[in-house]
């Protein structure tokens, strides 16, 4: 199993901190086993390796991003992020003892809502994952799942009844996913919840959750509380997954129709030659 980043992973941008957590005093973190320190320097940011190499930086989507290699381009687009009536909040950065790709796959999964996020994102006996669509964009750069419906108790602020809520998922990056969900404030617009996963090691991740929302009612503390509550519920599942790396062999685990997006995600990772944090299928 690979302990060194493959070329595709090496040349990606990865979020390593929320921007508000970066100050003039250097902090340390790990990216794919490499020890990094990062700090605010003048008007910009600086990320260096232990052996003194300066790495490329980006300050985008409320996070500080860097790369161990040479990224071919900038970051994927999240157009909603630029809308002026939205707020973006880094809900927190949480470490989990599992591979980054297992973390992303869990983020794409709806079937666990009634069992893991009981009373919040789902509720028994409403367990059905209805048919939804998954496709790869024409240039092969991104996976998009649409018309994902799942029953949610107390789905909107105006109703105490449960109902189906629609989700759209994007996977524009091997360890990042963006989720769109109808806003409880304006049903024509969507809340955006992005998960930027920093691979600390092949079996350890740090998840940065960034929300871009229309909600002007709830305080940031409350929104952060809610997101960390959800993520805290996922944690014991993720840390009890075996193996900790995401297996790409189609016979390693049993997919069902509800797993269409994760099947495409695994195939996409295999096609891109991702070996870091995964178990590639035997040749």
């Amino acid at each position: 199993m690979s302990e060194q980043p493959d070329p595709f992973m090496l040349n990606q941008w990865f979020a390593i901190s929320g921007l508000t957590d970066v100050g003039p005093t250097a902090k340390n973190t790990l990216l794919m086993g490499e020890k990094l320190s990062y700090r605010r320097a003048g008007d910009g940011f600086e990320v260096t390796t232990a052996d003194g190499r300066t790495l490329p930086v980006l300050a985008q989507y409320a996070c500080l991003w860097t790369s161990l290699g040479q990224p071919e381009s900038g970051l994927f687009e999240i157009p909603q992020y630029h809308e002026t009536d939205r707020r973006s909040i880094v809900a927190g950065s949480i470490g989990v003892n599992v591979s980054a790709q297992r973390g992303v796959e869990n983020f794409l999964d709806m079937g666990h809502f009634p069992f893991v996020h009981t009373g919040i994102l789902g509720e028994l006996p409403h367990t059905e994952v209805k048919e939804y669509n998954v496709r790869l964009t024409e240039d092969g750069s991104e996976i998009i799942a649409t018309e994902c419906m799942f029953y949610q108790p107390m789905a909107s602020t105006v109703s105490t009844e449960g109902m189906d809520v629609e989700y759209i998922y994007r996977v524009p990056h091997p360890t990042c996913s963006v989720l769109y969900k109808s806003s409880p404030l304006d049903e024509k617009r969507l809340d955006v919840i992005a998960l930027f996963v920093q691979p600390i090691g092949p079996e350890k991740l740090r998840a940065h959750m960034v929300l871009s929302i229309l909600d002007d009612v709830n305080a940031d503390d409350f929104i952060s509380h809610f997101q960390l509550h959800i993520f805290g519920q996922d944690k014991p599942i993720l840390e009890n997954q075996m193996p900790k790396r995401l297996p790409l062999d189609t016979r390693a685990e049993t997919p069902i129709r509800a797993d269409k997006s994760s099947i495409m995600y695994r195939r996409w990772l295999a096609a891109k030659g991702v070996t870091y944090g995964t178990i590639p299928a035997a040749a």
Partner: protein
């Protein structure tokens, strides 16, 4: 009205919520964003507890810090049966206090490992894990022999006490700090029993004994 200065993901806050739920007490939950906001270090909360530690319980004019002290207070104030904080024999009182001390040792080890792994705290995770492993070995041995003597709980007797409530959270959250419970089957059986105490509630990271309940 009881007021609890609380943080959702804290095991020490959770044990107070758990005790309040078991005793069927209403309370006001005042969230202090320990992570990522570090609100416990801001003047507003330092005015409540100069040590900057959660949880804090207010009941009328009384303000209490330290989760084990809060559990003791709740049991003495609101449990007329005397089950939760046993005063019936000196031995049981002593044993209960002994395990409350053990709970503090769990906070210093299992909780520290969890904060290091999960929330990026600059603690020595390996030392914390080693410390927790030793505590778990002691706890498992105690519980195994207790089972043979017909006791289900940390303190001898038919019913659970605040000692069980105090030790439960950081044992149950240990895997978040990379501390397995697989070598300790008596601990695993005991945590199952705690989950079946009437009034039991969960926190993120802990599943209920009944699938899909809350």
């Amino acid at each position: 009205m009881i007021r609890l200065y609380d943080y959702d993901l804290s095991g020490n806050c959770y044990k107070v919520r758990l005790m309040l739920a078991i005793l069927g007490l209403d309370y006001e939950r005042k969230n202090v964003e320990f992570f990522p906001g570090k609100r416990h270090r801001e003047p507003e909360f330092l005015a409540v507890n100069p040590l900057g530690q959660l949880p804090v319980l207010e009941d009328g004019d009384l303000r209490l810090t330290q989760s084990q002290a809060i559990l003791t207070y709740l049991a003495r104030a609101y449990d007329a049966s005397g089950q939760w904080f046993p005063l019936d024999t000196p031995a049981r009182t002593g044993q209960c206090l002994q395990w409350l001390g053990f709970a503090d040792a769990l906070t210093a080890t299992a909780s520290a490992a969890r904060l290091a792994d999960g929330m990026g705290f600059d603690f020595d995770g390996d030392a914390a894990r080693e410390g927790a492993h030793k505590l778990f070995a002691v706890l498992d041995e105690h519980l195994w022999f207790h089972e043979r003597e017909g006791h289900d709980w940390l303190v001898p007797g038919a019913a659970p006490t605040i000692a069980d409530i105090a030790c439960f959270p950081y044992v149950m959250l240990s895997e978040e700090g990379g501390i397995p419970r697989e070598p300790f089957p008596a601990i695993r059986r005991w945590t199952d029993r705690v989950k079946r105490i009437p009034g039991f509630v969960v926190m993120p990271g802990i599943f209920p004994a009944i699938l899909g309940s809350q």
